[in-house]
Amino acid sequence: MPDDHDRKLASPVRRYLTLLRMFASTSLSAEMEYRANFTFSVLSSAMNLGASVFTVRLFFSHGASLGGWSWSAALVVLGAFTVLSGISQSLLQPNLNKLVEQVREGTLDFVLLKPIDPQLWLSTRRFSPWGIPDFVLGCVLVVYGSLAVAPSAFAWLALVASLACSALILYSLWFIMATTTVWFVQIYNVTEVLRGLLDAGRFPIDAFPPGAYRFVFTYVIPVAFMTSVPAQVVLGQTVPAHLAGALVLGAALFGVSRAFFRFALRYYTSASS
């Protein structure tokens, strides 16, 4: 008679959930070695956010606006940006920087040999708590900005859905960038470039001059979908169209990231590839 343990392992969803929990708890205990860091990280998140809010305020205090967006809409955009930056500090940076290292040192072999989806392992193995302050403060700012219009229950739901899409878009872009390391080895600052460009997400898309800027930030590095759309969704401006766009984009980019990773693996030749 097969024992219970075997049957538990056989259910893939169950197995993956257990694994995710174990990944998170081992990473946490490793990072907790540096507890004093947490104070710093809270402090720097708060200061960072303060400086960002001040900068946005600067535009309004001089009577210039950010592309006609209201103060509270601009705050929601900034909040969404901060939430995403928390997610990237907690999940994307630790995992995907490691991916680059593993390709360079050839230790990616060990991951590929494991009986688990390699993309899942590579994207969730590490969890760093240092992004939590940004995530929390970002949420607070999003809620504070949204309260200006007293959104309906549906709008709140749409907001959560749209933020999830933003996270998916961000993750997929980041993963695609990190995958190129199979060809470019020493290129872990590809992700730095991405991070630099994502800074554009601090501002509503209409704050940029028409033309090259808006094109790049909508279609090439879709920060417009990541931070402006959540704000538009919760503030009740053209909800369905924008949300649908973000959903399609997120799903498509995620698909691309999976296909691209599989394609790249064909060129991976272990150490010093």
Binding site: N37, A51, L58, H62, I187, V193, D199, A207
Partner: protein, 261 residues
Amino acid sequence: MIFLRKLAALLVTAFAHTTTYRAEMVLWALSGSMPIILMGVWFQAAQGGRLEYSPLEMVRYFVAVLVIRQMTFVWVIWEFEESVVRGRLSHDLLRPIDPVWHYLANHFAERIARFPAVLALVFLCFWLYPGSAFFPGWVVMGQAAALILGTFVTRFALQYTLATVCFYNERASSLESLSFIAYTFLSGMLAPLDLYPPIVQQVAAWTPFPYLIFAPARLLIGEEVDVVGAFQVMGAWTLGMIVLQRWAWRKGLSRYSAMGA
């Protein structure tokens, strides 16, 4: 004389190292795209004519910020932290020259290697905003170059002093992230400082930060800047930092135990 020969040798090897990964150079230059983003937002905001700067002046200001940022980029604390945590500092200490020269050589070599990419970015901005191209004249360029060099030395001294904390705490670079926020906020990287509320401007004047970006940027776009005064303030801060660093260095080194210090 021998010391200069050593320095030259360090610089040459650092340059060779840096240029091994040339594509990386372009990427690092691109990763400093914040001024280009802010340039767009401020250009658009200045359209209404409510700011003291015209749209094209904003573009020029941020082109200057871009160049200054790229030329004064400092990362010594991360390099030092890694050396201490991994024990590699021991090798550096065995060399017959203080490790600081090694780090300085790396920074300088990187600057030279990065310069073409920076020029390309400047021309990209000029192309994006027709009519924004400008040349401040050779005298101003000379003054600005000297000021930017001074800025770099000040930034390096500030960060290298913080880096000595690595002897006591393995993750001293979190201190740097705090000081970097102050630098970002008070240096004029986000907006020309004269747009800030007066009270913030007064606070900023007590720190070295406004001299690190705002002063050279104003000089480059053709405004009056008290160059001598800027040098005096930066010189005083740098000197103070060097004294502090040497003291902390000597104390820290006696704690350093090659691995897991």
